[in-house]
Subunit: 105 residues, 2 copies
């Protein structure tokens, strides 16, 4: 019985593995779509922040705010079992893009 | 009347601008939290993909899949008014991290 089962598993494994791969990739694609839409919203917010700061003569960069953002995201990352180093790198990557956008305005 | 209004606006503007800035930052923080949680889920999926590929002797890198992912994300970015170049850079940034994680396993 055990041998029968293991034979069946061996036969089925490549097909199962391929189906499981496609299933995981579909989840990854869904998550990427959600992230892209959230980032589109995020850049809408930062564009508004940029305009507001320009109109009211506020400084373009606020390093205190950045420190708070990094600390906050690192904590959130730990809670959700994401590498905090990666969360910090990710935020820096996004902020660099925001700065590039502000400069190009 | 117009002059009254504009005087009032000038008085109120710095406070309004500051409130509006805090409001936008709260939205940015909410969006960042959502993105961090989605990325945590995404890395859970890619870890499973890594294990599956290792168990079944599938190649670790699939460049055809990467081409499809980039094309898909660029289209999604255009639809949501996000810079497609940025969407591609973002995906590359994430995939680099996935590859780094797989290597460290």
């Amino acid at each position: 019985m055990t041998s029968d089962l293991s034979t069946r598993q061996d036969d089925a494994a490549p097909q199962d593995a391929h189906s499981r791969l496609l299933e995981l990739r579909a989840s990854i694609d869904n998550l990427d779509s959600a992230v892209v839409h959230l980032l589109a919203e995020r850049f809408k917010c930062t564009r508004q922040v940029g305009r507001l700061k320009a109109e009211h003569g506020m400084p373009a960069v606020d390093s205190d705010r950045e420190v708070v953002q990094i600390r906050r995201l690192r904590l959130l990352a730990e809670e959700s079992h994401l590498d905090p180093e990666f969360a910090e790198k990710f935020l820096t990557f996004i902020i660099d893009e925001v700065v590039r956008n502000h400069r190009s305005l």
